[in-house]
């Protein structure tokens, strides 16, 4: 019998808000699916499109970018720039034959441990529904 599909998510979280929010979810013992692998960056504005593309091409099922709510970025405007970059990225990959719904951008503050857990839960369920990233099978990329 085929193994049940479990999506893999790579998350790029900013140090000051979303990563701390994830940490809070942990220390508060809020349950969320173990499908996410977290990479901490200083700011959502430092997420180069390459970081999102590389895991997608390798076959990761979803990429989550997390940053501070607008107005709260530790570096003033990193998240506003990230917003534009992710909007451009989604438009580009959509037109290049990818499913742009596999990329999520979410603002989650340091105090929103609950929201972090809910986001990961929702994303995991969404990707379970969607099925595996076709790139898992494609070697010629």
């Amino acid at each position: 019998m085929a193994e049940k599909f479990e999506p893999k998510i790579v998350a790029f979280l900013c140090n000051w808000c979303t990563y701390t929010g994830a940490d809070l979810a942990g220390t508060s013992r809020i349950q969320y699916p173990p499908n996410v692998r977290i990479i901490r960056l200083m700011c959502s504005g430092s997420v180069d499109p390459t970081y999102v593309l590389k895991p997608l091409l390798d076959g990761v099922d979803g990429v989550l970018v997390g940053g501070c709510h607008p107005g709260d970025c530790h570096y003033q405007s990193g998240n506003y720039k990230a917003r534009r970059r992710i909007i451009a990225l989604k438009e580009i990959i959509k037109n290049a034959g990818f499913d742009e719904e596999r990329v999520w951008l979410r603002w989650i503050s340091a105090s929103e441990g609950q929201r972090f857990a809910e986001t990961v839960t929702k994303m995991t369920e969404f990707l379970r529904e969607k099925g595996p990233n076709p790139m898992r099978q494609k070697w010629a990329v």
Partner: protein
């Protein structure tokens, strides 16, 4: 001011050379960056200070080996620099606007001399035509009047030119407006009153057919463009970018010739993607096989993300591709969509900020809040 460069004996090329010479001799500029015929018959941009050497200048040469905006960057990017006149076709002017915004070129001390583009050949095609004595400048320039732009029979213009819907000069200090003109009689130009006075020109109207002919050329080219965009979008949909670029050898030629790709520390020229041998084995095991060189689609997708908002459609990428991939078509077709999202038109205006370096706090407020 609109005026006309007088042409004698029907020789528009000689008249244009004379005009360039005048720019040097009147001290409007100290040097001209202009396409020059080399002794072997090929064309290369050169920075010319000796007016006598302008006998080899060819501002209309129907060949494009590189987007000259790149080399305008070399000679203008920082002080001290000379007062330079740069002869550029329309896609080169647009690239220059983007490079100025990217701080890779400067308009200070620069006089841009824009030329309507009647279509260009790839270098090997031009060399072949030249070798057979088939580069007939008078015949080529004659196509400007009607706007029936056509290559020498049995040959084709570059892919990008065939679908170029912006061949007319915009944003130049001096515009050589070829479209609609009987160039055997005179070359219509637009320039500032100040420059006109310095060069001794009085106002003179052309016969006013330019707008009409430009409209006709643009309509024909737009139709070709839309057909090609339709085809390539269908292919991207069906095969994905990995299908369309399946034959890529990751030589990076497209990036090397791209006027927008200026980064000296490009990630793809760095050792970042020199993986450990064991890493390739991991990938091969995971998917059963892994394409080599690795990260080929990552290269194209990253380049799209980094530069496509500024893609001005010169198509040098397609010209430079050793495996004849439709790089320019893909980048232009995707670029059109992404540029529309940000209501950005690359090359339009130096004052218009690059979409990824600017933002508004109150835009896309719903994004990230779900």
């Amino acid at each position: 001011m609109r005026t006309v460069i007088p042409v004698e004996n029907g020789d528009a090329l000689a008249a244009a050379r004379g005009f360039l010479r005048q720019l040097l001799e009147a001290g409007v500029v100290e040097a001209l960056l202009v396409p020059m015929e080399t002794p072997s018959g090929t064309i290369t941009p050169a920075l010319v200070t000796d007016p006598d050497l302008l006998a080899a200048a060819n501002p209309f040469a129907p060949v494009m080996g590189l987007n000259a905006a790149r080399v305008v960057g070399h000679v203008s990017v920082r002080e001290p620099r000379g007062k330079i006149g740069a002869v550029l076709r329309s896609c080169e002017l647009r690239a220059l606007v983007e490079l100025v915004k990217l701080r890779q070129a400067s308009l200070d001390d620069l006089v841009t001399i824009g030329v309507d583009c009647l279509g260009t050949y790839d270098v090997p095609v031009y060399v072949e035509l030249h070798g057979q004595g088939q580069v007939d400048m008078a015949a080529y320039l004659a196509t400007a009047q009607s706007g029936d732009l056509s290559p020498v029979e049995g040959y084709a213009f570059r892919d990008a030119c065939e679908m170029c819907e912006k061949p007319q000069v915009e944003n130049a200090d001096i515009a050589l407006e070829l479209f609609g003109a009987d160039l055997g009689a005179g070359i219509p130009i637009t320039l500032s009153d100040e420059l006109a006075e310095q060069l001794g020109f009085a106002p003179q109207e052309g016969d006013g057919r330019r707008a009409e002919v430009v409209e006709k050329v643009v309509a024909a080219r737009t139709q070709v463009r839309d057909e090609r965009f339709g085809d390539i979008r269908q292919r991207l949909d069906e095969e994905g970018i990995e299908g369309v670029f399946a034959a890529c050898v990751r030589c990076h030629n497209c990036m090397t010739v791209c006027p927008i790709c200026y980064c000296k520390t490009c990630l793809f020229k760095s050792p970042v993607f020199d993986h450990e041998p064991a890493q390739y084995m991991n990938w091969a095991r995971r998917k059963g096989a892994t394409r080599l060189p690795a990260d080929t689609m990552l290269f194209h997708l990253t380049r799209l993300n980094h530069m496509v908002l500024s893609c001005i459609g010169c198509g040098m990428c397609t010209s430079a591709c050793p495996t004849n991939l439709p790089v320019g078509r893909v980048f232009r077709a995707i670029g059109q969509q992404v540029q529309a999202v940000f209501e950005y038109v690359p090359g339009r205006d130096v004052e218009e900020p690059l979409p990824l370096v600017t933002f508004r706090e109150d835009e896309w407020m719903e994004v990230g809040e779900e």
